[in-house]
Subunit: 287 residues, 2 copies
């Protein structure tokens, strides 16, 4: 790196287009990593506003500053609905943030993460140590194809979290009937599958199609929301899928008490509020 | 306008910097209006993603596409907490969106809006007819200085909504002790003042100072949240101020029933969920 690139006066901006006609723009200190893995292009930028930021194929996956929201909300909501989770599976999630949150629960005997791209795990260990280092012993990382894994495994899981990129590139196969059917097959009777489902503000049409498919395959779905500033529109959706109708209320008051002070988004009020959907979001689901 | 400006291929983008190092960028069809009023610069752009957009002194005030969220949330929350509102006052709100929502309640005998800048009202009538035309007869527009108004009036209001720009420019005096003290003076015993309070994600420090002031002057405050995609971070806060401790629950189940189908954000679930604050937001208030 030369002196010019080091200068804080370099007017280097990263712009992500959320639609063809809108986007966010962030001032960048420097590019920390740019690699082509066998699966995708991985870039780590250091930004002024959000700290370090991971991009996969040009889309923001996470930032230092707001990753806590996504990772807390994709894990603590389902575990607090069903606190008898013993075995959990993460498909994708190579940055290890979901693994970190899920591993907080010592009553979960095994948390297995199946990530296709080892480069993501390596980059996260190096550039996002708060996510990927110091994982407890109930956390297990498998480098492999999640589609193959759910097709071939005979294990049964109480919780499956699909922590994937959007349905373009290596994650394409994670949005198919056969993948979801296999997920349902390896889910315990009271189990849940949770996935991130884009922005109901920008992606209403695709969420409609996608959620109809999930309802058809699983039987029951429950969407919930979180504020994620760096994602398109800042309004982000997650969907829980289950074989039986789900009571999404909190089941145990003390489940997070020993680490609650280290959470920055999730709490028991948020648990209730996240399922309270604005009218235009309810309309997507016809609820 | 020449042929070049009419072309859809004009790569004209408007970028609003939310912090010195981050912002949103929107593709623009054309500039519909640019005037310097005695108070501020008013610009109306036609954007591809959000439709028409009003800027005051270079900051986005509202867009066709997402104005419903701000206007529904700043009005229906307080009225559904206290359905015995007879007299309501809006300070600012020249686009008339807050007036439109508040005027839906025929039991509110008078809704007075005091806007300093007539150009905003005129521009809204022309470019945002869904906001400013067809207002019912309980709606009254006064062009004048809100600071003077609350200082001099002997009227008493059950609801005061401060629908202002940020504390720079003409709205500066709306963020002072003396303005708030006057608002408290003209508030009925069970009355509420509501204001928009920026983004807890980007403006935690200023919200802390500001909310301490409101608590000191009024006695009690209750913050709540809404997703507003075009505003910084997409996470927007409102604060209700009252003289007595406030029960923010819904008081009547049928209050919005005759127009509920025309609302796109607010509903009775949202009413409950909006007060369920993430931990980092609670921390700003020490609650």
């Amino acid at each position: 790196m030369n002196e010019f690139n080091k200068s804080q006066d370099t007017h280097l901006w990263y712009t992500e287009y959320h639609t063809p006609n809108s986007g966010i723009t962030l001032k960048v200190k420097e590019t920390l990593l740019r690699v082509k893995s066998p699966f995708q292009e991985l870039v780590i930028l250091d930004t002024y506003e959000y700290g370090r930021m991971m991009l996969l194929d040009g889309l923001v996956m996470l930032t230092d500053r707001d990753e806590f929201i996504y990772h807390e909300m994709i894990t603590h909501i389902p575990v607090n609905i069903n606190p008898s989770v013993k075995k959990a599976l993460i498909i994708g999630g190579g940055d290890c943030g979901t693994l970190r949150e899920l591993s907080r629960y010592s009553f979960i005997e095994n948390v297995k993460m199946v990530e296709i791209d080892e480069e993501v795990v390596k980059a996260s260990r190096k550039f996002f140590p708060q996510l990927a280092s110091n994982l407890p012993k109930n956390a297990e990382i498998v480098i492999g194809d999640g589609i193959d894994f759910v097709e071939k495994t005979d294990d049964v899981f109480d919780l499956i979290i699909i922590d994937s990129t959007d349905p373009i590139g290596p994650a394409e196969g994670l949005f198919t009937d056969s993948f979801y059917s296999n997920c349902r097959r390896i889910l315990s009777e009271e189990g849940m599958m949770v996935l991130q489902a884009e922005s109901p503000y920008f992606h209403a049409e695709s969420i409609k199609i996608f959620s109809d498919r999930l309802r058809r395959i699983f039987g029951f779905i429950r969407p919930y929301l979180a504020f994620i500033p760096v994602y398109p529109s800042g309004m982000w959706e997650f969907i829980i899928c289950s074989k039986n109708e789900l009571d999404v209320s909190l089941k145990k008051a003390d489940l997070i008490s020993h680490f609650e002070s280290s959470l920055k988004y999730y709490n028991h009020d948020v648990h209730k509020g996240a399922f309270m959907l604005p009218t235009f979001v309810k309309n997507i689901y016809g609820i």
